[in-house]
């Protein structure tokens, strides 16, 4: 129940002249989301470095550790005012979603609040200076893991899928048709929807700004990031790309420059195992038992 009143002048909505790094795809993700969802949107929180919060859509932000809970309050108020035509979405970075605010998200999942949460995943605490977060991939350089991260990337979408929310999806800006389809599908579902957006940070990933979108394509093609959706527990791979070895993905990023041959092979093994597992799951239900929910 969404009124997709289109936004006439997107330029006024996301004006130029913000302080994001050249090539940052955060604003592009926000553009795509708002293009799909239309004008009747209230935003809570700010994705990632946050400088690109839209200016003419109502925006409310608390400190980043309160991921999504302010949106619960906004939803409660809208329900009391009997307004059904407004969509509430919540934006947060990977640090807020996966580390400091994970408990809050888990509670929102349990309450099944009717909002979409977008995680802008640039794989570290970029705004404070490229420190490692739980969602930094194995082997990556960050200022707090200068020798390379020794633990694997936290699997937040799967963790939330285990909490049996109606819709979980992973997207990236490079595959925009897939992105917009998933946002549109999510906006038509009642309950808590979670969409995890992989986006590059040219500064933190040490990648040349013009290759910001290309590096995302390589991420998907090398299976370091897989595009799937879990709708009502049924897992579906939405992109089976032409495959490329992980070495290609690491080559253009400075943050993997220190990886030796055996590290890269180890990572290739992880990635191949995960991809094989996901292909097995394709089309099957990943929930344990069925959720008992009151009718929406």
């Amino acid at each position: 129940m969404l009124a997709t009143e289109q936004i006439e002048d997107m330029r006024k909505l996301l004006p130029s002249g913000h302080g994001c790094c050249p090539g940052c795809q955060g604003p592009v993700a926000t553009k795509m989301i708002l293009r799909t969802l239309g004008r009747r949107v209230i935003l809570f929180g700010s994705g990632g470095c946050g400088d690109f919060t839209p200016k003419t859509v109502p925006y409310f932000g608390l400190h980043f550790s309160g991921v999504g809970t302010g949106a619960t309050g906004i939803l409660a108020a809208l329900e009391m005012k009997d307004r059904k035509d407004v969509t509430v979405i919540s934006l947060a970075g990977d640090g807020a979603t996966g580390d400091i605010g994970f408990g809050k998200l888990a509670a929102i999942a349990e309450r099944n609040d009717n909002m979409i949460h977008f995680c802008y995943d640039n794989e570290a605490y970029m705004n404070t200076g490229i420190q490692k977060s739980g969602l930094t991939p194995f082997g990556a350089w960050t200022t707090t893991t200068p020798a390379g991260k020794t633990t694997r990337k936290k699997d937040v979408p799967m963790a939330l899928a285990a909490m049996k929310i109606p819709y979980v999806a992973t997207v990236t800006v490079a595959y925009r048709g897939d992105f917009q389809n998933k946002v549109k599908k999510a906006s038509g579902i009642q309950g808590f929807k979670y969409i995890h957006v992989l986006e590059p940070c040219p500064t933190g990933w040490r990648v040349s700004p013009e290759k910001s979108v290309e590096v995302l394509r390589l991420a998907v093609q090398s299976h370091m990031w897989n595009l799937y959706e879990i709708e009502n527990g049924v897992f579906k791979l939405t992109m089976k790309p032409k495959e490329v070895p992980v070495k290609e993905y690491f080559k253009i990023q400075g943050r993997f420059r220190h990886l030796k041959e055996e590290d890269m092979q180890r990572i290739q093994k992880f990635v191949d195992e995960d991809w094989a597992r996901l292909k097995e799951w394709d089309g099957k239900s990943v929930w344990v038992g069925t959720p008992w929910r009151a009718t929406a």
């Binding site: 997107m10 330029r11 996301l14 004006p15 130029s16 002249g17 913000h18 302080g19 994001c20 050249p22 090539g23 940052c24 795809q25 955060g26 604003p27 592009v28 553009k31 795509m32 690109f52 200016k55 800006v173 925009r176 040219p202 040349s208 700004p209 013009e210 290759k211 910001s212 979108v213 290309e214």
Partner: protein, 93 residues
């Protein structure tokens, strides 16, 4: 008690300095995109992927570049399917 607090707009008027959120990001760039409008196939991909809305649907041509804000990141040139955008070294003469 009548209170007169100076707002940012008042300070702007008085001092002549802009306290704006819109930074003059056009001054950041080293390379600038130059579009060859004859070869442009009007797909709109450059406009979609520009993080700054510096490539926008223009009046004269299908897409134009706003050089006041373009940061010169080069994503438009990299993503153009027919490679009709060149990144040219900026010269401030």
């Amino acid at each position: 008690m009548r209170l007169k607090i100076k707002t940012l707009k008042d300070l702007e008027k008085e001092s002549g300095i802009a306290f704006r959120m819109t930074l003059p990001t056009g001054l950041w760039r080293v390379f600038k995109p130059v579009i060859d409008h004859n070869r442009c196939i009007k797909c709109g991909i450059c406009e979609i992927y520009c993080p700054d809305y510096a490539v926008y649907k223009g009046k004269e041509h299908f897409v134009e570049v706003d050089y006041d804000y373009c940061k010169g990141c080069g994503v438009c040139a990299n993503e153009c399917p027919v490679k009709c955008i060149d990144m040219v070294r900026e010269t401030f003469v």
